[in-house]
């Protein structure tokens, strides 16, 4: 590398950026298409799809699709529900799973390895295949609500939150990360007489920012995109999240402009959340991947 002449280096650099940009176009074009299409009337949108105009905000550009989408469905409510459900689940999940993972990674106890193996095996089960048995489970759980005690969790936020707090992937991510941390930290704290709880809180959590960020974004994506489960358990509009709301737009003749506007609006919170966590996220996967 040191031998490369300055002129060559300029060309080299230019080539690298060209390649990087070309690849970037491959990854971003459908998203540009979505945003641009949301600004066009249906007729023009469909004509434009076949050409490069699909990516250019040209022609009859307006925000009409957005107004119409908000008129057709309570979009604000759906986004509020999704953010609430996702936010609470992610927060609880990070806490409960990291707590459990701490035990799997640092404490030695009977049955630990078997249980961890079972937890990792749960990753194999696609949710779609157990949704109905799960419906029967939540329908027999007790709950306390404003109207008193009752059996059955349907039609609530909690039925969309509690079942997803613990999940194998999140636990696995934390365990892998914790196992790579220097054990001396724990031993030193233990010798100082700290309890396990204190070690978790004062030693481990402060140095685990990256894995918390990774787990947060992955959990956020999975929760925000939930569809089948809320469809089954949220009968009243009041509790419906964004992916169920998408169905409001698939009438006999689909108004594609409105669909694109809706998709843009519901993708926005995820992008914001992702960009917010991006730095920590990349650093975090960098460290969780080490041990495989």
């Amino acid at each position: 590398m040191a031998a490369v002449k300055p002129a060559n280096r300029g060309v080299n650099l230019w080539l690298r950026y060209t390649l990087l940009t070309f690849v970037a176009l491959i990854f971003i074009f459908p998203i540009v298409f979505m945003v641009v299409s949301s600004l066009k009337p249906d007729q023009q949108l469909l004509v434009d799809t076949g050409s490069l105009r699909a990516f250019l905000p040209v022609g009859d550009i307006s925000l009409n699709n957005y107004f119409e989408a908000f008129e057709r469905a309570p979009v604000g409510l759906f986004i509020f529900n999704s953010i609430l459900i996702t936010g609470v689940t992610v927060a609880l999940s990070l806490f409960v799973c990291s707590f459990g993972a701490f035990s799997f990674a640092f404490l030695k106890w009977r049955g630990r390895d078997v249980i961890l193996a079972i937890i990792i095996a749960t990753l194999i089960v696609p949710f779609e295949t157990i949704a109905i048995p799960m419906l029967l489970v939540v329908n027999n759980l007790p709950m306390v609500s404003s109207s008193g005690f009752k059996i059955g969790w349907l039609n609530s936020y909690q039925v969309q939150i509690v079942p997803f707090i613990a999940d194998g992937l999140t636990i696995f991510l934390f365990v892998q990360y914790f196992r790579d941390l220097p054990r001396e930290l724990i031993e030193a704290a233990r010798i100082d007489g700290a309890s396990w709880l204190q070690i978790y809180r004062r030693v481990i959590v402060p140095i685990s920012g990256p894995v918390f960020a990774t787990a947060a974004i992955l959990k956020f994506l999975a929760m925000y995109n939930q569809y089948l489960w809320p469809l089954m358990v949220a009968q009243s509009e009041q509790y419906r999240p964004v992916m169920v709301g998408l169905q409001y737009f698939f009438q006999l003749n689909v108004a594609w402009g409105e669909v694109m506007a809706y998709l843009t609006v519901i993708t926005l919170p995820v992008l914001v959340f992702y960009l917010f966590l991006q730095r920590a996220f990349i650093a975090s996967i960098a460290s969780t991947g080490i041990k495989g």
Binding site: D42, L46, E71, R72, A73, I132, L135, L136, N139, G152, L154, N155, L231, M232, V233, Q235, S236, E237, V244, Q247, Y248, F249, F250, Q251, L252, N253, V254, W256
Partner: protein, 420 residues
């Protein structure tokens, strides 16, 4: 301080008002029209009128997107969480009634007089559901196109026959003016397939299953008549007379209006835009007769009462209230559907004598055929849909029909004959 007292007083007052309203027993109602404001507006009027017309019941509406409505109902039923009043797609009703989700309606004598047969949901000797409207299908065509190609305009008494229909499709294709001679609507997957296409099968002399026993599809769906139908069907696509399964939903919606398709097999709900576009040139033609008379599907969305409701009398009362001709006419005006009674048709904008869609009332009255009235229909419809798609995509006709027959029969067997 004063403000606060005033505010407090208002709260007490509104609580009082609310509790007077609470004297009415709440009836929950589910409807499939979420995302369709025109339709909901009419329903809201009916509900408001009903709630204001008596002091016993107060109907509260919950709306669902149609795409996933059935899944929502089934999940709720599994969880024992159904509302008092549900709406149900006509052919699905026997399945829900058989499963014990629905209770027979308690209507007063004569309440159903004058209703189109397609709007009455009867199973096992009981009325379980009633539709405020029916839907009807027709071949959409332009008079000018037919005339230019010297094609006869068919009538209810004298529809096109198979040979005539085939010849005119080839003729239209040969003009080169159109992408396709006819659009069957393959982009509309789901219930559209059995609704729109199984009447052709019946006109050939076949059926989705054997209606004399409802215990098998053998013979009905893979006999000679059914194979003849399947070969006719396949030839439509093999010769590029109609767009196939990969048709774009947008083309389905606008292709006929834009002149891409010479003819279109479509429903009355799409008739108004076509009339607006082509005016007097627009024709709504009866289905061809393939040997056993021209047929079109019947039955659309209907209202029923859930079996778990503690207020079945109230739920029935609401449905009977909604069955008034003026509401039937209002629904028709709002969404273009066929009013379920002749009296309501006369009150409606489009179906009254001389109205632009009057012809559909005749089609519905004369050609409408119910899909198999059995709890097994729900699954049979999916197998029929798959066979139609596979045949259109070039599958071997008898094999595809055999596969559907086997799937339907195995389902009937797993359900111990569905009570037949």
């Amino acid at each position: 301080m004063n403000k606060l007292t005033l505010f407090g007083g208002a709260v007490v007052l509104s609580t009082l008002l609310a509790s007077t309203a609470m004297a009415q027993t709440e009836l929950s109602m589910w409807y499939h029209g979420a995302g369709n404001p025109n339709e909901l507006e009419v329903l809201d009027v009916i509900i408001d009128d009903f709630n204001g017309s008596q002091s016993d019941w107060n109907v509260v509406l919950e709306k669902f997107p149609q795409e996933s409505y059935n899944e929502s109902v089934v999940a709720a039923a599994l969880a024992g969480n159904l509302p008092d009043i549900i709406d149900v797609d006509g052919p699905v009703m026997p399945n829900w009634a058989w499963a014990g989700y629905m209770a027979p309606l308690e209507l007063s004598d004569g309440a159903l007089d004058g209703f189109l047969p397609g709007a009455i949901g009867e199973w096992n000797g009981n009325i379980y559901s009633v539709g405020l409207w029916d839907a009807g299908l027709a071949i959409f065509a332009r008079k000018s196109v037919l005339e230019a190609n010297d094609i006869r305009v068919p009538t209810l008494d004298n529809p096109w026959n198979e040979a005539e229909f085939d010849a005119l499709l080839l003729k239209l294709q040969a003009t080169g003016d159109f992408d396709f001679a006819i659009d069957m609507g393959m982009a509309w997957t789901g219930e559209w397939y059995p609704y729109a296409f199984s009447p052709f099968l019946q006109s050939f002399g076949g059926d989705i299953m054997d209606r004399s026993t409802y215990k098998t599809a053998e013979g009905a769906l893979n006999g000679d008549a059914a194979i003849a139908f399947g070969e006719w069907w396949q030839a439509l696509f093999a010769r590029d007379l109609s767009p196939g399964t990969s048709q774009d939903g947008a083309d389905r919606g606008s292709g006929f209006l834009e002149g891409k398709y010479a003819l279109q097999w479509n429903g009355n709900w799409a008739a108004l835009p076509a009339l607006e576009k082509f005016g007097d040139d627009m024709l709504f033609l009866p289905a061809p007769d393939f040997g056993n008379g021209p047929r079109i599907g019947a039955a659309s969305w209907q209202f029923g009462v859930s079996a778990s409701s503690e207020n079945q009398d109230g739920a029935s009362a609401f449905i009977e209230f909604a069955m008034q001709d003026k509401y039937l006419a209002q629904f028709s005006d709002a969404i273009g559907l066929i009013p379920a009674t002749a009296a309501a048709a006369a009150m409606s904008k489009n179906y009254k004598s001389g109205g632009p869609l009057e012809v559909f009332f005749g089609l519905s009255e004369n050609q409408a055929t119910l899909r198999p009235v059995t709890p097994g229909y729900v699954v049979a419809a999916l197998d029929f849909e798959k066979a139609m798609a596979d045949i259109a995509n070039g599958a071997d006709v008898p094999d595809a029909l055999d596969a559907a027959v086997d799937a339907i029969n195995s389902d009937i067997e797993k359900n111990s004959g569905y009570g037949f």
